[in-house]
């Protein structure tokens, strides 16, 4: 059943009940009607509350504060900044659950739900944004493939010309893990092995183009 079906059902039930209202009797039927009436009151209250909070923007605000993005990106600092920028007030709570409640209350009191929603959406979007790594990363990746394609002697010459810091940078950018204890020789071995593999894998499955 969906909400449309429910509306139809209630409408049909309402019509039937209306036609029969003066003729209905019996304790079982009365008890059933009483239960339904009580459930209807509860549902009506929830529906009104849902519609009102949707209209005021509060529903969206609460959804946002419960969202997966909020779980990852929401901080007390962000809430404090929001309250300062939106309501020109100070958030006092120092733990996140209390800060969220206080945030909602302050926003509600100043009726700035729409602004609060925009503020949070933008903050979450900025937090989710990841820089691409830029030209340096692309260059180091090309170098990695080149090292993988090189013959052993050429590889040895190229590696000898690089400092340990440069080797670490090549390794880091290309996904090779190492620790502070990883020495130059070990690092070189890792770079050689994975660079050769990468060079092979990137070329291996290519379908020749039908030009």
């Amino acid at each position: 059943m969906n909400y449309s079906d429910l509306a139809t059902r209630l409408s049909q039930l309402g019509e039937r009940l209306s036609k029969q209202a003066d003729k209905l009797e019996g304790e079982n039927l009365g008890r059933s009607a009483a239960k339904l009436a009580s459930q209807l009151v509860r549902f009506e209250e929830q529906l009104e509350s849902h519609l009102a909070s949707r209209k005021s923007g509060e529903l969206l605000l609460e959804s946002l504060l419960r969202s997966p993005a909020s779980k990852r990106h929401l901080t007390i600092g962000l809430l404090k900044r929001g309250v300062r920028e939106i309501c020109a007030k100070r958030l006092k709570s120092e733990n996140l659950p209390a800060a969220k409640r206080e945030f909602i209350e302050l926003i509600r009191a100043t009726r700035q739900q729409d602004l609060a929603v925009e503020f949070l959406k933008e903050a979450f979007a900025d937090a989710a944004h990841v820089e691409s790594g830029g030209k340096d990363k692309a260059l180091l990746q090309r170098e990695f493939v080149h090292l993988g394609q090189s013959l052993d002697e050429d590889f040895a010459v190229e590696i000898a010309a690089r400092t340990i810091a440069e080797l670490r940078r090549i390794a880091t950018v290309n996904g090779i893990r190492f620790t502070d204890k990883t020495n130059r020789q070990r690092l070189t071995t890792l770079i050689r092995r994975y660079a050769q593999r990468a060079a092979l894998n990137v070329a291996a499955a290519r379908v020749p183009s039908r030009n």
Partner: protein, 172 residues
């Protein structure tokens, strides 16, 4: 042309939506090609292993061929292209997954150099981490954001969606 079937049947309906996602099986049979024909862009999922890597390389070449083949039937419209890639089932432990994603990026660079992949094709972040809740959500027949909204899978998908919107609405 057979690949116009989906476009003919659903083309007018597409206009009422902000986004239409055509979820395709992992093959290049006619139904998938029909979806590629209809689409403004393709988004390719990548599981960090060699099988996915070689599959991606084949797909990129095939889509480049389709671009030529379909051009005459799509005047004034975007031709088949890969717009973005998504990494899923990612684990942060060890070297394996980082290296596999690096190989994907190297492959993308090589394909761009050859003109097979557009410069606009990007690898979206974050990578969707391996998460039991995501697997469970399929058994529950619910999206993970409803089934387990607090899970790392739901968080990753929420952030990925933001990146997706930014990418395809031209922001950032």
């Amino acid at each position: 042309m057979i690949y116009q079937i989906l476009d003919s049947a659903l083309g007018t309906q597409f206009k009422q939506y902000d986004y239409v996602l055509l979820d395709c099986p992992p093959n290049l049979y006619s139904t998938t090609k029909a979806a590629i024909f209809s689409a403004d862009s393709c988004v390719v999922p990548y599981v960090p292993d060699y099988l996915s890597l070689s599959g991606f390389q084949v797909l990129a070449e095939q889509i480049a061929e389709m671009r030529e083949k379909f051009a005459a039937f799509l005047p004034g419209r975007r031709k088949p292209n890969i717009g973005a890639l998504i990494v899923s089932h990612y684990r942060q432990t060890g070297n394996v997954f980082r290296l596999a994603v690096n190989e994907l990026e190297l492959s993308m660079a090589a394909l761009r150099e050859e003109g097979v992949l557009s410069d606009h094709a990007v690898l979206l972040h974050p990578y969707i981490r391996h998460c039991v809740r995501v697997a469970e959500s399929t058994s529950e027949h619910l999206p993970v954001i409803l089934y387990a909204p607090g899970s790392i899978g739901a968080q990753d998908y929420a952030d990925l969606t933001q990146q997706f919107v930014d990418r395809f609405e031209g922001k950032k």
